[in-house]
């Protein structure tokens, strides 16, 4: 699976996330973008471990980071890295990142390119909480 960015047919700028008008040349004719899959490898620009989570996340902590991919596009994603460090090489996979009452949402999950992948992205579950029944 891939995450897509949108390459402007006029100037070649890769827009991510999707926008209606190209950020660089403001080309705004219809269908002016070609979807291109984002590369999976990059370097970690910054990160955080979040301890207060929104309602859909039944975990104690969640690691998030911004990654600069090989083509220079930056993407926010979840991290599956026990000890992240700024500048480290990472590799992404597209996996479910959030499950709400309607569906699973897919997004990029990064692990360290070298060394064993940790399992701290989703730490231990915090007990069993009752969830709303699926629709």
């Amino acid at each position: 699976m891939d995450i897509y960015a949108y390459k402007c047919r006029k100037c070649g700028h890769v827009n991510y996330p999707y926008r209606l008008v190209c950020k660089k040349c403001r080309g705004n004719e219809h269908e002016e973008f070609d979807p291109v899959p984002l590369p999976k490898k990059g370097r970690l620009l910054t990160f955080t471990r979040l301890h207060t989570l929104p309602a859909d996340f039944l975990v104690a902590t969640l690691s998030l980071g911004i990654v600069e991919l090989e083509n220079g596009v930056r993407i926010t994603g979840q991290l599956n890295i026990p000890e992240p460090a700024i500048g480290m090489k990472v590799k992404g996979e597209v996996e479910p990142v959030r499950t709400d009452e309607f569906r699973k949402h897919y997004g990029m999950v990064f692990s360290a390119e070298e060394g064993p992948a940790g399992s701290l992205r989703r730490s231990r579950p915090v007990g069993k909480r009752s969830r709303r029944p699926p629709h």
């Binding site: 955080t48 979040l50 929104p54 309602a55 930056r74 926010t76 994603g77 979840q78 700024i86």
Partner: protein, 391 residues
């Protein structure tokens, strides 16, 4: 364009308040009308971000204008995320400056504590990009955490600097009877002692509990009038002299240098240019310290200090109540509280109170120019205002 003056002020305590949203907007409005000595207004702007989602109240302005028996005055609700308050003031400014109206009421109100913390966090997180940020679990604290880590790496800001902002703003809030948090904190208690990790746990590393503002309910009101109306008043004249607004990319990841807050820089520059004053003329400022790091960064971006020097000025005590440029004398969002839609109006309330010389124990000396920065999203929509005391 005509000059615009602040005629009346009203404020509720920022706290957990068990009143309906309409009343949170209405009480400060009644106070402001009494303060200004007016019994009618031409138009009403109500700033609110979450009424429809948190309180199941849409069309807030229509409800407020009738509750105050001000019909048939015009009324509009303004939603611009956490910058709603200053945005509404900007609308009020334009209405008076253009000559369309003579007396305009600007109210900000928010009731966030009606829902639990999970829902409140999720509600604020809907400000982020739905596909590129929100689905990953990104919240405003997590964006601030990632931003802080970069800032620490690049400019040498430490957790101690962040804690110093919290201590200063808590101290200021202790002097403000309307502030949400009345709690004396020390660097030892939140940083150095063995219990610090319990007292001050991580929220979004490296940000901790005392780096984040509380979730508050509250309301604030300003009445803006034309010069003609202002001359009838007995209060010291404070002019809303400069208004600036700028935007930046929706996602934080797309900013060329993610440690720059270009929208803050641009909005502040516009406001100063319009008011024909310099950052060095400012005698008191309210900056949007939803996270302690933001007070440091905004103090640089608006031009009080050089980029990367904000934390040094903080160390020297320049931003304290008795310093060269007192910042967040009300306690800021950190101490006074952050009812999102009301915050911008609340900041302006503090600045006008200071410029009038009515701030009692936390009064700064000789301030003639005041500044507010109201920061929406994570810096993607920023409104800055400059107030000047006349006479």
């Amino acid at each position: 364009m005509r000059n615009v003056y602040v005629a009346g002020l009203g404020l509720t305590a920022f706290s957990r308040l068990e009143f309906p949203l309409v009343e949170l907007a209405g009480y400060p409005a009644m106070q402001a009308m009494k303060d200004a000595g007016v019994d009618r207004v031409d138009h009403l702007y109500v700033a609110n971000m979450g009424g429809s989602r948190l309180n199941r109240q849409t069309g807030l302005a229509s409800a407020v204008v009738d509750s105050l028996s001000l019909t048939p005055a015009g009324a509009e609700s303004i939603e611009n995320g956490p910058a709603s308050g200053a945005s509404a003031l900007k609308q009020g400014y334009m209405a008076v400056a253009s000559g369309l109206h003579d007396v305009v009421m600007v109210v900000g109100a928010e009731r966030m504590r009606e829902v639990n913390n999970l829902e409140a966090t999720d509600f604020v997180a809907t400000l982020t990009h739905p596909l590129a940020e929100y689905i990953y679990g990104v919240t405003l604290p997590s964006l601030a955490g990632m931003f802080t880590r970069l800032y620490m790496e690049k400019y040498g800001v430490t957790s101690r600097h962040l804690a110093m902002v919290a201590v200063k703003n808590h101290d200021n809030a202790l002097l403000n009877p309307f502030a949400h948090i009345h709690q004396k904190i020390t660097l030892e208690g939140i940083l150095d002692s063995p219990e610090a990790m319990t007292n001050n746990p991580y929220v979004a590393e490296p940000l901790r509990f005392f780096d984040c503002c509380p979730v508050s309910d509250g309301g604030a009101c300003l009445i803006l009038v034309s010069e003609e109306e202002a001359k009838k008043l007995k209060k010291p004249l404070v002019r809303l002299a400069g208004v600036g607004q700028a935007t930046d990319t929706h996602t934080v990841q797309e900013r060329r240098d993610p440690t720059d807050l270009l929208a803050v820089r641009a909005a502040a520059a516009q406001a100063f240019a319009m008011a024909k004053v310099k950052p060095s003329d400012v005698g008191v400022a309210e900056l949007h310290d939803a996270f302690t790091i933001l007070e440091i960064v905004e103090s640089e971006e608006v031009g009080f200090f050089k980029k990367g020097e904000g934390h040094r000025a903080l160390e020297r005590g320049e931003t304290r109540l008795d310093g060269r440029i007192p910042i967040n004398t009300s306690g800021g969002l950190k101490g006074k509280g952050h009812p999102v839609g009301a915050t911008g109006v609340g900041q302006a309330h503090e600045i006008v109170t200071q410029l009038r010389g009515e701030a009692k124990k936390r009064q700064v000396k000789n301030a003639r120019v005041g500044f507010t920065c109201n920061f929406g999203g994570f810096g993607n929509n920023v409104v800055c205002l400059v107030f000047v005391r006349e006479g």
